[in-house]
Symmetry: C2
Subunit: 184 residues, 2 copies
C-alpha cells in the first residue's frame, strides 16, 4: 500500500495533478482501475494521500538534515544544503509536490490550498525556531529578525524547487554560503 502510494507520488510530482490520468496512475502503481477505486474514493483522494505521505517524508528528511548541525546556525545551513540538493538533478526535475500543488491547485482547490498553506507555515516556523535556537546558543546575532528571515528563507527554498524544475544548476555549497549572509 505504501509502495503503491510512493509510485503514485512520483507520477504526481512529475506530471502534476491535471496531467496525470487514471491510466498513468494505474500504470505507475501496477494496479488496475478497479483496484485503485477500491482503495480510494477518487483521483482527488489518491492525490491527498500522496500529498500527506510526501510532506511526512520530506519533513523527516529536513529534520534529519538539521540534526547534522551542532548549533542553530549550522542546523540552518544543513537545511538549506538539503533543499538545494533535493532541488537538483533528477530529483529536482521530479519536483516538489508542495510547490507543484501551490502553483497548480492552491487557487482552484480549497482543500489542497489549505494543506499547502499549512505545510508552508510549518516549514516556516521550523526555520524560525532554528534561528531562535541559534540566537540562544550564540551562533546567530540577536538583531536578526527570526520571522522575516524565516519567510525569506521559505521563499528561497521554494524558489530553489522552481529553478531546479527548470533545469538550472544549483550549487548547494555556494548558494547556502551566500544565503547565510542573511544571518549576519
Amino acid at each position: 500500500m505504501d509502495t503503491a502510494l510512493d509510485r503514485a507520488l512520483r507520477v504526481f510530482r512529475e506530471r502534476g495533478y491535471h496531467a496525470t490520468s487514471i491510466g498513468d496512475l494505474t500504470a505507475a502503481m501496477r494496479l488496475a482501475t478497479g483496484s485503485v477505486y477500491k482503495a480510494f474514493r477518487d483521483k482527488h483522494a489518491v492525490f491527498l494521500a500522496a500529498f500527506e505521505r510526501y510532506t511526512a517524508l520530506r519533513q523527516e528528511q529536513t529534520r534529519s538534515a538539521a540534526s547534522r548541525g551542532s548549533n542553530g546556525r549550522e542546523r540552518l545551513r544543513h537545511v538549506l544544503l538539503s533543499y538545494a540538493e533535493q532541488s537538483q538533478g533528477i530529483e529536482g526535475r521530479r519536483g516538489c509536490l508542495v510547490v507543484g500543488s501551490a502553483v497548480e491547485l492552491s487557487a482552484l482547490d480549497p482543500v489542497v490550498g489549505a494543506r499547502v498553506n499549512a505545510q508552508l507555515k510549518t516549514n516556516e516556523s521550523f526555520i524560525a525556531g532554528l534561528i531562535r535556537e541559534g540566537q540562544a546558543d550564540g551562533s546567530i546575532p540577536g538583531h536578526v529578525e527570526p520571522d522575516d528571515t524565516a519567510r525569506l528563507m521559505i521563499c528561497i527554498t521554494q524558489g530553489m524547487r522552481v529553478v531546479g524544475k527548470a533545469r538550472l544548476a544549483l550549487d548547494g555549497e555556494r548558494l547556502a554560503g551566500v544565503a547565510m549572509k542573511l544571518l549576519a
Copy 2:
C-alpha cells in the same frame, strides 16, 4: 488581438495550462471556438503566444522598477520590491506564468521548457548586471559574488510567487530589507 491575448493570459495564469479548457479560453477571450482556431493553430499555440506576451510585459515592469533606483544597489532593491508587490494580494493569487510553466510544463513540454529556462537566465543576468553596476558605482561591495548572488535572488523572486499563490502575506519592505543583506 492583444486584448484577447491578455484575457487568455489571465486564465492561463489562474488555472494553469491543463486545467484551462478551450471553453474557458473562449469565454475569457469573448471569442467562439472557431475564431480561436482561426487565429491560432491549437491550444498550445495560444499558450505560447500568451507566454511571450507575459514575459514581454513583465520584463518591461521589472526594468521600469529598476529605473526608479539611483544606483545599482537601489535599483536592485526596487526590483525586489516590485516582485514582492506582484506576488501579493489578488495579483499574487493570479500567479506568475513563468513559475507556473516551470512547475507544470517544464518537464513535459520541451518547447515551453526551453522558453522558461531562457527567461530565467535572462532575469538572472539582468540581476547580475545590476549587481555589477552597483559594484562599479560603489553602492555594492566588490567582494559580492555577482553570479551566485543573482542565482539566489532568482530563487527568492520565484519563491515569492509560489508563496504568494499560497496566500501567505509578503511584506515587501521587510522582505527586501532582509534580502539586501546579501549585498553586504
